[in-house]
């Protein structure tokens, strides 16, 4: 396992992100923009479902989901680059594992919530799912930021 992780770090991408003076900084900046796109849309639609904002029809937000997916792909790629540069470290960081778990649950809950909205499901159930969804996403941001501290 450790040999495998080391080979990731020693890959061309891992070495570039680690050794180029701008590699890590650029990957991090791109990661922040992708986060703003994906999380921004997820926050907006969940805040709408939960009643924090009220006017935009919930299903209209699907027009923004392309942008959210683009942000997600940007972060998957920049995330892989960041991971490659510190594979031996991040793999054993519990906040990182927690972050990935929360993102997977949060992403799945977003899908379930929108399906329930489209199917005109019970409002209480939709709001409960939406609440857990946004909690997971916020948890993913917090655990991601805390990777710099643990």
């Amino acid at each position: 396992m450790d040999d495998f992780l080391l080979s990731i770090e020693e890959s061309a991408l891992g070495v570039y992100i680690q050794e180029d003076p701008w590699g890590f900084a650029i990957a991090l900046s791109v990661h922040a923009v992708g986060m703003a796109m994906a999380l921004g849309v997820v926050m907006l639609v969940n805040f709408r479902i939960l009643g924090v904002v009220k006017q935009v029809p919930v299903l209209s937000h699907t027009a923004l989901f392309g942008t959210a997916w683009l942000g997600f792909i940007i972060n998957l790629l920049s995330g892989i680059a960041l991971y490659a540069s510190h594979a031996t470290e991040y793999t054993y960081q519990w906040v990182f594992i927690l972050k990935l778990t929360l993102l997977a649950i949060g992403g799945y809950l977003m899908k379930l919530t929108m399906e329930a909205v489209a199917a005109n499901g019970p409002a209480g159930k939709i709001q409960l799912m939406s609440f857990f969804c946004i909690s997971c996403w916020i948890g993913a941001v917090i655990t991601g930021r805390l990777m710099a501290y643990f």
């Binding site: 900084a25 922040a32 703003a36 921004g40 926050m43 209209s60 923004l64 930021r145």
Partner: protein, 161 residues
């Protein structure tokens, strides 16, 4: 009072001391700042992409009601941003990325005023699905471009010292 006196005053303030002395305060504020930035950008995406025409499915009037949401998110980030600044004023004030970030925020503010005074009334009269005029689209594109720049420069602060 010189500029450095003023920076020292901020550093010695209650907020400045709190940011340095309470170990969880800095990461706590960072997390709030990240959430504020995502909320701000998400609201802008809905408004600006509707104006540009990519998300014409969103009713224009409804999109414009998100302006207070965007302003609230900005207020959160202004507040948390001031906290970082008081925590380490000399570092931020003389940091190139920070200086450029502030310049772009001022430009984004002017752009937002132009939107509010020049286009808001016209846009709120648009029918569902109707296209916005060209100046409004230029403002919307500038808004998204400026905020991407602001996010990138903010993230570069630790790397441009």
């Amino acid at each position: 009072m010189t500029l450095d006196d003023f920076l020292q005053l901020l550093a010695d303030s209650f907020a400045g001391n709190m940011m340095r002395d309470i170990f969880w305060m800095w990461p706590f504020m960072e997390n709030l700042h990240f959430m504020g930035l995502a909320a701000l950008f998400g609201g802008l995406l809905a408004i600006d992409l509707r104006v540009i025409g990519i998300c014409r499915f969103i009713p224009m009037k409804a999109a414009l009601t998100l302006i207070p949401y965007v302003i609230a998110a900005f207020a959160l980030n202004l507040l948390t941003g001031i906290m970082f600044f008081t925590g380490d004023p000399y570092r931020y004030f003389y940091n190139l990325a920070f200086q450029w970030k502030m310049a772009l925020i001022v430009l984004a503010g002017i752009n937002a005023l132009w939107f509010w005074f020049g286009e808001h009334t016209k846009l709120s009269k648009l029918a569902d699905g109707e296209e916005a005029d060209v100046p409004a689209k230029i403002i919307a594109i500038a808004s998204l471009a400026l905020w991407v720049g602001i996010i990138v420069l903010g993230r570069l602060i630790p790397y441009l010292e």
